[in-house]
Amino acid sequence: MEPILNVKNLTMTFGGLKAIDNVDIAIEQGQIAALIGPNGAGKTTFFNCITGIYQPTTGKVDITPPGKSTQSLRGLKTNQVTERGLARTFQNIRLFQGMTVLENVMIGRHCRMNAGVFGALMRPKSQKNEEKEATYASYEILEKIGLEQYVNEMAVNLPYGAQRRLEIARALATDPFLLLLDEPAAGMNPQETKELDDLIIWLRDNENLSILLIEHDMKLVMSLSDRIHVVDYGKKIAEGTPEEVKNNPDVIKAYLGDDADDA
């Protein structure tokens, strides 16, 4: 079977700096994959390249959504990538501050709705139904994520952990087949991390989703991931199961430095 996301020879240069250097990553349907590496290794840049925030210098980014044919993401704009079924969250929370929790999720439904200027001004029946459908769909997602008690709160007033989960809920609302999570556990306490762990597995098992996450919390990464990709200085240095990666000398070198024995 074709991998649902197939990245080949991806390179991104900023001036003379090669932020990503010839990286290949493939993700299979139903997989939880992790992208790890020391700070500044190019992980978030990798996400930005896939989702069209940056246009990569060279390389191939192909997707094969379940039950559909292979297509390239190169040259697409961010919103078009989202329409194709890749949804992401952000390292530093980027919720819409002036909106309620429900409305934040409804924004995620945006690309699955059609009403334009005419619909907004005239409010035909189709538009009303669409709004209603979006409202209920958004509420259902909040229920799944466990945020339904906050439905009418302003997003900015939520506790930190809940804001992180809301970002995931908002991403889910775009109907993705692949979820890209950028440090979803950053700043969470152990209890919240545990809940996040359960949530990600639940999403994979019940929502037919594949997940690629960037994470620094090694405990979470090792327990969750089916496959781990390690990057350092923009280059991919290792790939494998958590066991393989844990014992890879290159990975240990990247994380602990050359003279690990002296430390």
Binding site: N79, T82, F96, I107, R112, M113, L121, A134, A171, T174
Partner: protein, 400 residues
């Protein structure tokens, strides 16, 4: 209570003002008799005046801070509370409707005429509110679209005899087109950069009108623009003013209706999302190009309609009516009224346009008082006269 520190500060403020205003308030040169008169009593009154002004200023500032500390939850403005309460909403709206219905018959033609101006600004404010308040795009050249609308009616009438009612939709379409045209080059810009480019665009339109003599009659402008026709009946001067008044009121009601619908739609949500976070909104699948362009185009549409009404009301237009000052006034309407708040913008337009007219009573000080009031509003109510309380989706689960 007044603290010692505040008294000390007030004394300094008083002394400072006495020095500052010395040349204009105290010294008077009589150029005919070649003598200089020192009006020392003025100095005394300036001192006393600013001393107490400083004390009251500080008092209100302190009270505002205390109030902010006391109330952690944001309070809802009175008008919103009135409108949300079922018992008050109907009577409130009825009183408002009666007031506006009988206004032109009770008050003189002069009052009706300035009310028309104020209502045109309500339309302009609500239009600009889409661009600035909802979509968060600072547009300093909004007057360009007002100009487009006014000239569209004037020129179409001059050359083709197009009447007011036909000019209205044509100008609206032209406004939409010009809004899109301006939108395209500024797609990548935000904040200050966007403000500068739109400022330039506003000036370009005015300068073209001023210099392209063959097309727009240059600085001489276009005169004899006919007022709206009422089935071909001549209403007389007073009748025409009243007629225009009702047309504007109707257009304002239409604007309020459409703008509030836009705000509470998929499109309105995407504007607010774009204002809150540009990148996240794209990552959620919102097409930034489309969203930005519709905001510009729809805002421009209302400015254009306002322009047609303006041309019909004054019966004479020239480029001087569309200077940068006009853009700033409209922006003031939005900011002082309350960004993003339709009711605020309406209040802002009425206050900002009617006040200078009624302040004519204090003759030469009117612009001073007007400026001071704007400063006071911004210091004490930075969110505007009536701040934005967006109608959010109150989700209630229906058991089935």
């Amino acid at each position: 209570m007044v603290t010692k520190k505040e008294i000390k500060q007030a004394v300094f403020v008083a002394l400072w003002f006495m020095v500052l205003t010395f040349p204009i308030m105290v010294i008077k040169v009589n150029t005919i008799k070649h003598i200089v008169i020192f009006r020392w009593s003025h100095l005394f009154w300036i001192g006393i005046g600013t001393f107490f002004a400083s004390l009251t200023w500080n008092y209100f500032l302190r009270r505002k801070e205390e109030k902010q500390k006391a109330e952690t939850s944001d309070d809802v403005p009175l008008v919103h509370r009135l409108l949300q309460n079922d018992r008050f909403r109907i009577p409130f709206l009825v009183v408002l409707a009666i007031f506006f219905l009988f206004y032109p018959f009770v008050f003189s033609m002069y009052h009706t005429s300035i009310m028309i101006s104020a209502l045109v600004y309500v339309m302009l404010g609500l239009g600009l509110n889409i661009v600035v308040g909802l979509a968060g795009l600072l547009d300093l050249g909004y007057v360009a679209f007002y100009c487009v609308g006014a000239y569209a009616y004037a020129l179409l009438n001059l050359h083709f005899g197009v009447n007011f009612w036909l000019a209205l939709p044509i100008s609206a379409a032209l406004g939409f087109l010009f809004g899109t045209l301006l939108g395209y080059p500024v797609l990548r810009l935000r904040g200050d950069y966007l403000a500068i480019v739109t400022l330039g665009f506003g000036e370009i339109i005015r300068i073209i009108m001023e210099n392209w003599d063959a097309f727009s009659n240059g600085p001489r402008g276009i005169s004899n623009i006919p007022p709206p026709s009422f089935f071909g009946i001549d209403l007389g001067q007073h009748g025409t003013v009243i007629y225009i008044y009702f047309i504007v009121t109707g257009l304002v009601l239409m604007t309020i209706f459409f703008v509030s619908r836009l705000e509470n739609s998929r499109l309105g949500r995407s504007w607010i999302a774009m204002r809150d976070d540009d990148i996240a909104c794209q990552a959620m699948g919102i097409d930034k190009v489309k969203t930005k362009l519709t905001a510009f185009a729809l805002g421009a549409t209302w400015a254009s309609i306002g322009g047609v009404v303006f041309a019909a009301k004054t019966s004479y237009i020239n480029p001087m009516s569309f200077t940068i000052m006009e853009s700033i006034t409209i922006l003031c309407v939005v900011v002082i009224g309350g960004m993003g708040s339709a009711i605020g913008v309406i209040a802002g337009a009425l206050v900002l346009i009617l006040l200078p007219e009624y302040l004519r009573a204090v003759a030469e000080y009117r612009m001073l008082v007007f400026g001071a009031l704007q400063v006071i509003v911004m210091v004490f109510k930075p969110e505007g006269l009536i701040k934005s309380v967006r109608k959010t989706y109150e989700f209630k689960k229906v058991e089935e």
